[in-house]
């Protein structure tokens, strides 16, 4: 329950920058998620906060106190590991008591706190079991109880759901989030799963190649992605690539002239969210761009249907329509019209990205 500040935190291994100038300010009680593909530096950053990795430069402050040079055991952070890391030779109760014992909390008080922590995760009835006697989901909750029992200043979650199966993952997400809100504990979670990040976070940090690409709310990232990478990584997009032709106009690789809501110059990429692309039998009125195209592929995704429309040999967009009962869907090979509004989601082409 403390503010967490990272100031230009960096970690280099030889020539390799695992983290570069990561600056974050996590408010008391905030749930911050570090999101990115593997190798983006999110785990290194978390490990620098916990004290397992020594930063090459920069500082870590917890509750205003500079802990950059403190060893892990003097930092009072509660870390939930990806593999839970429960002590196999100790019972559930002894696992949860470990942090209290290290803090020399009196036996009676510790016992009460252990029970409280286990009640939080509804596992107090399993207090005398050994970890191997528990299911994966139960182990995960014991790990959470253990990290919370000694009231850490900051809760750190390292891909805590990645070892759970899909259905359970959905439930545990909601559980962790509501527990975090109830306790009002400052939390940093690391994940590569954007859906997990979007559902749980107060605020998200998208990282790549060790650096922060964008910080913001779900809405910020989705509606106003900072660059090509974020537009691709958060949410689904189809991309048109081309060259800026004039004021707020892009000429696509296939020769279409597309209006957008931002002026740039040079090679550019436009990101289109599939639900903002409308499909119809006639040219779409009321949209800044409307083009005819041929339906190439229709993908039935349950509640959603994706319609892939080819506008030119080089240009393809995906339109998403909700799967309503009587929707008369176009078939593969049909000619349809698609339309979308001029968008500010136009970025200089990122050479590292697939178009």
């Amino acid at each position: 329950m403390a503010r967490l500040e990272l100031d230009r935190l960096s970690k280099r291994y030889g020539d390799f920058h695992a983290a570069r100038d990561v600056s974050l300010d996590v408010a008391e009680g905030e749930f911050l998620v570090l999101l990115g593909p593997s190798g983006c530096g999110k785990t290194t950053t978390l490990r620098m906060i916990a004290g397992f990795v020594e930063p090459t430069a920069g500082t870590v402050k917890i509750g205003g106190r500079d802990v950059t040079t403190l060893p892990p055991w003097k930092r009072n952070t509660g870390l939930v590991f990806q593999n839970y890391a429960l002590f196999p030779h100790l019972t559930v109760g002894q696992n949860v008591a470990f942090g209290l014992e290290m803090r020399k909390v009196a036996k009676a008080e510790a016992d009460a706190k252990v029970l409280d922590a286990l009640k939080l995760v509804q596992l107090d009835h399993l207090i005398d079991r050994l970890p191997r006697q528990l299911s994966g989901g139960q182990q995960q909750r014991v790990a959470l109880a253990r990290a919370l029992a000694f009231r850490p200043d900051v809760l750190l979650l390292d891909e805590p759901l990645s070892n759970l199966d899909a259905k359970l993952r959905h439930d545990v997400r909601v559980e962790i989030r509501s527990l975090q809100q109830r306790l009002g504990i400052t939390t940093v979670m690391v994940t590569h799963d954007q859906e997990e990040a979007l559902t749980m976070a107060d605020r998200l940090v998208v990282m790549r190649d060790g650096a922060v690409r964008q910080i913001g709310s779900q809405k910020d990232l989705y509606e106003r992605p900072a660059d090509h990478f974020v537009a691709d990584f958060v949410g689904r997009s189809s991309f048109l690539s081309g060259t800026m032709a004039g004021d707020a106009e892009m000429k696509t690789a296939g020769g279409l002239t597309v209006r957008c809501a931002k002026s740039l110059s040079g090679p550019a990429v436009m990101a289109l969210r599939p639900e903002r692309v409308y499909v119809g039998r006639e040219p779409i009125s009321g949209q800044d761009n409307t083009f005819p195209g041929e339906v190439e592929f229709v993908s039935y995704l349950g509640s959603l249907i994706d319609i892939h429309v080819r506008l030119s040999p080089q240009d393809r967009v995906i339109a998403q329509v909700p799967n309503h009962d009587s929707a008369a869907l176009p078939a593969v090979g049909d000619t349809v019209h698609v339309g979308w509004a001029a968008t500010p989601a136009v970025f200089p082409a990122d050479s590292d990205m697939r178009a």
């Binding site: 892990p72 055991w73 590991f81 429960l86 196999p88 030779h89 942090g99």
Partner: protein, 284 residues
């Protein structure tokens, strides 16, 4: 939950069907190996109950007399005590050396690590007589140079036996360390345990199987060693294998069979007890 059960059952059945001829051949081979190793032990056990003094066939009857003779023989008792003392001391000293050395070898990267690792294997495979002579020479040189005579002393014997114990321990502790999940240590540190507490409370319990098995094997290797001891025992300080050898030079009767059987039983019991705590087949 059901999921786990299914997968396991599925895996247990892996070898599939129509493999039965192959399976029987493999079982037969395991049986041959088993019999090969078991047969000498059965013969020596059988002999230890023969009533006649000179091994011959058929036995003229059975007796427990040789066990009485073996247990009652003061030379054997003294030798047994010496062997046990040397083995225990060597194991304890070996543990003090091998535990940190294993941690260092398993966890740190440093120049010459591979060489150290392979060198620690050498006492397992350098002929005992070579190793024994090498230690003998060293003690002679030390005695001449520093006038510190460890030769034929109890200390010299223990010193030599530590050399037998350490490789076993290092191997088995390193095997345990390889299977130990290091995030457990990070978890302990995150919960407030410093390095020492982490080692005591988390690492030690995790590698205990390797420590127990390493100590057991180290002790047994020391207890049964003949070659090293040949060079290092002093007058009136004979280990059990040497006492047996000396007895055999004098006469061959079922007493030696009896004392052999007793040793095999003691070692087998030690193995079974160890096996209760540590699955030997997994760690050795």
């Amino acid at each position: 939950m059901t999921g786990a059960a299914v997968t396991h059952t599925g895996k247990a059945a892996r070898p599939g069907f129509r493999l039965r001829p192959g399976r029987w051949a493999l079982k037969a081979a395991a049986l041959v190996a088993f019999i090969y190793i078991l047969t000498p032990l059965i013969f020596i056990t059988w002999l230890s109950f023969y009533s006649q003094e000179i091994p011959s066939y058929p036995p003229q009857g059975y007796t427990l007399r040789w066990y009485g003779q073996a247990i009652g023989n003061q030379r054997f008792i003294d030798a047994f005590v010496i062997s046990a003392q040397v083995g225990i001391l060597a194991t304890l000293i070996g543990l003090v050396i091998a535990l940190p050395a294993s941690l260092g070898l398993a966890r740190l990267r440093f120049f010459g690590r591979g060489a150290v690792n392979n060198l620690l294997l050498m006492p397992l495979i350098v002929p005992g007589i070579v190793l024994g002579f090498a230690i003998y020479v060293m003690l002679v040189e030390v005695a001449i140079r520093f006038e510190w005579n460890m030769l034929n002393s109890f200390g010299g014997l223990v010193f030599g036996h530590v050399l037998l114990v350490v490789p076993w321990m290092v191997r088995l502790i390193m095997a345990s360390l390889a299977g130990f999940d290091r995030t457990l240590e990070e978890a302990a540190m995150n919960l407030g345990a410093n390095r020492l507490t982490t080692f005591r409370r988390v690492t030690m319990p995790g590698i205990l199987p390797g420590i127990v098995a390493g100590s057991m094997f180290g002790f047994v290797a020391s207890f049964g060693n003949l070659e090293l001891s040949l060079f290092l025992v002093g007058p009136g300080r004979t280990t059990l294998p040497i006492a047996i050898l000396q007895y055999l030079q004098w006469k061959i009767d079922p007493t030696i069979a009896a004392i052999s059987v007793l040793q095999i039983i003691i070692i087998a019991v030690a193995m079974l007890i160890t096996d209760r705590f540590v699955k030997l087949s997994r760690v050795v």
